[in-house]
Amino acid sequence: MDIVLQQLVNGLTLGSVYGLIAIGYTMVYGIIGMINFAHGDVYMVSSYITAIAIALISALLTFLGFESFLVVIIGTLFLTIVVTGAYGWVIERVAYRPLRNSSRLAVLISAIGMSLILQNYVQLSQGANQQGVPTMLTGALRFHVGDGFVQITYMKVFILIAAFAGMGILTYVIQKTKLGRMCRATQQDRKMASILGIDTDKIISTVFVIGATMAALAGVLITLDYGAFDFYIGFIIGIKAFTAAVLGGIGSLPGAMLGGLILGLSEALFAGLISSDYKDVFSFSLLVLILIIRPSGLLGKPEVEKV
């Protein structure tokens, strides 16, 4: 029993992070119908920015003569989200906007190119080595269940709270604010939205920035938790998050979050209860199965041919 509960906790934390990154894929797909293959690498860049931000803020605090985990973590979150958001904006401006009216294939290739550029740029500027971040928050909650126990580090609690808070804020912005209405209008019909006075180019930029900020949130959380990263981590996690987005129905915001959680939970439960060798096989089989039954994903709307 304690083992199953522990696996649920493992799966939830992993899944919430997948969900955060999947949001970037799904929103961009929703609004301009392209898969942003560089998104995993935006996440990777945010890990490096996290490490740099931690170092800068800690040094500043030491200089000022006091120590506070809370200040470091809030400062790091703020700095990483702002800088990564800027990366998202620049990437859209440089690699995608010039191709706005060309074929989908051109944008796709441009995205792959951007992904390679980001990887090599980080490798050259930061070195190819494994990088580590010192542990910031130690200690754990321990619940006794039967004769076993479930252990959750404070860091994991923080991840769950921050990830769900991030998703909650984003859902609020999209559903309730003027900006969200403009995003949804652009998603439904870009030409009509622009006729009605919405600056669609600006909205598309905003969507890239939002995707990047969610990836940045995930980057900060994962970097603080696992402490290790290199220039190549964007690849595997990008594939997983993309799978989560497709699983939940690409283009659907709640779908991305749900897909992330399902993927994380299924990976953890399969690895924990059956075999970790084949957990990826299981996740992808699950994807195939869901797509056979519901071709547009769990919460995706079936594609309507526009006439």
């Binding site: 083992i3 080595n129 290790a228 690849f235 060798d277």
Partner: protein, 370 residues
């Protein structure tokens, strides 16, 4: 630029290229993960080989001819290893290669060196298959994983008296080979592992696997793999409150293991098998001092790489730069190196194996367990 200018530039570049090749007397390749997640090992490899080449050149080179090193980056990927091996033998004209690092790279590359008649001396690839293939040109100055697995298994059984052992590997040639070697000796001692599973190289989240280790109540976790996965693995193991003893092989012998794990407290008590301290040989004292004077600690495989270079050079120097004769010569002659006298058997393995158990401490350093 006009066409004529472009053509002229290209011609002058081509001429310049030819000139550098003509100056290169004896080309030796240094192949390993110079970039990528395992670049820390590539650096050990390069530092050792570079220093050896400088020292040999300063002492007059190979029969008066200077050594030129060519860095070949395989990023520990088998496909890339094959392509850089082809480049080394075809366009660089290497007579010998020091490398590769990962066994999964060394094995496919070794066949290319064999076809081209080039001596290959690896400082670090420990998978038994490499020399069991029966290629005449392949040598290693490190031990074999079956020897390494023996040492680990007998330590687990005799010293730790452990009964519940979880065996984890990274599904790669080196990691799985080492884990399998350890497991078979362990089974021969009458201890059956309580768990045997692989993880995926490049991932960082092993929580599900660790919960499973907890569920089988393992006293010892044996990991066959490299430090980039071992770091997060041991950290998450401790974060989930497991006190199982963590043992691994020579794939974690890098200071980076500590930074990847997050802090020295997590690596405290981790055990690993590795050759007898490479810095303990009297013949290496001078080189070690020079390394330290230059501000570089020759950790891990640095001196192995130096040794590999000395072996390759000895083979070439004593056989008029003929690598094929050099390979035959190595099997019957011993070579004096910074790690003592080295003798090779028919397969190209060292005749003496010297694996011992090391322990990491709370300062993030490792030392031999008495």
């Amino acid at each position: 630029m006009s066409n004529a200018v472009v053509r002229k530039t290209l011609i002058s570049l081509a001429v310049a290229g030819a000139a550098t090749l003509a100056q290169a007397d004896v080309v030796i390749g240094v192949a390993g993960p110079h970039t990528g997640a395992y670049a820390a090992f590539g650096e050990q490899l390069w530092k050792g080989a570079e220093k050896a080449a400088q020292d040999i050149n300063a002492a007059g080179g190979i029969n008066g001819e200077m050594i030129t090193l060519v860095k070949a980056d395989d990023a520990c990927e088998p496909k890339q290893a094959v392509s850089v091996a082809n480049r080394l033998v075809d366009s660089d004209g290497a007579l010998a290669v020091v490398g590769h690092f990962c066994s999964s790279s060394s094995i496919p590359a070794s066949k290319i060196y064999e076809e081209a008649g080039v001596i290959m001396v690896t400082p670090a690839s420990t998978n038994p298959t490499l020399t069991d293939q029966g290629l005449p040109n392949v040598f290693r100055v490190c031990g074999r994983d079956d020897q390494q697995g023996d040492v680990a298994a007998s330590y687990i059984v005799d010293k730790l008296g452990a009964k519940r052992v979880a065996v984890i590997h990274d599904k790669d040639t080196y990691g799985k080979g080492l884990a399998d070697a350890m497991k078979s000796t362990l089974n021969a001692y009458g201890v059956n592992e309580v768990m045997y599973e692989g993880l995926t190289r490049g991932e960082k989240d092993f929580n599900a696997l660790i919960t499973k280790i907890r569920s089988v109540d393992a006293d010892v976790v044996y990991f066959g793999g490299l430090h980039s996965e071992a770091g997060p693995l041991v950290r998450q193991l401790r974060e989930q409150g497991s006190k199982a003893i963590f043992i691994s092989g020579d794939g974690i012998v890098s200071d980076e293991f500590v930074s990847v794990a997050g802090s020295p407290e997590y690596v405290d008590g981790v055990l690993m098998t590795f050759g007898a301290p490479p810095t303990s040989y009297p013949s290496g004292a001078k080189v070690i001092k020079e390394f330290r004077d230059a501000g570089y600690e020759p950790e891990g495989y640095t001196l192995y790489s130096y040794t590999a270079m000395q072996v390759a050079v000895a083979a070439l120097a004593n056989n008029n730069l003929d690598p094929i004769k050099g390979a035959e010569w190595l099997k019957t002659h011993s070579v004096d190196t910074v790690m003592g006298k080295k003798d090779f058997d028919e397969k190209g393995d060292l005749t003496v194996s010297d694996y011992v158990m090391y322990e990491w401490d709370a300062q993030g350093k490792y030392s031999v367990v008495e």
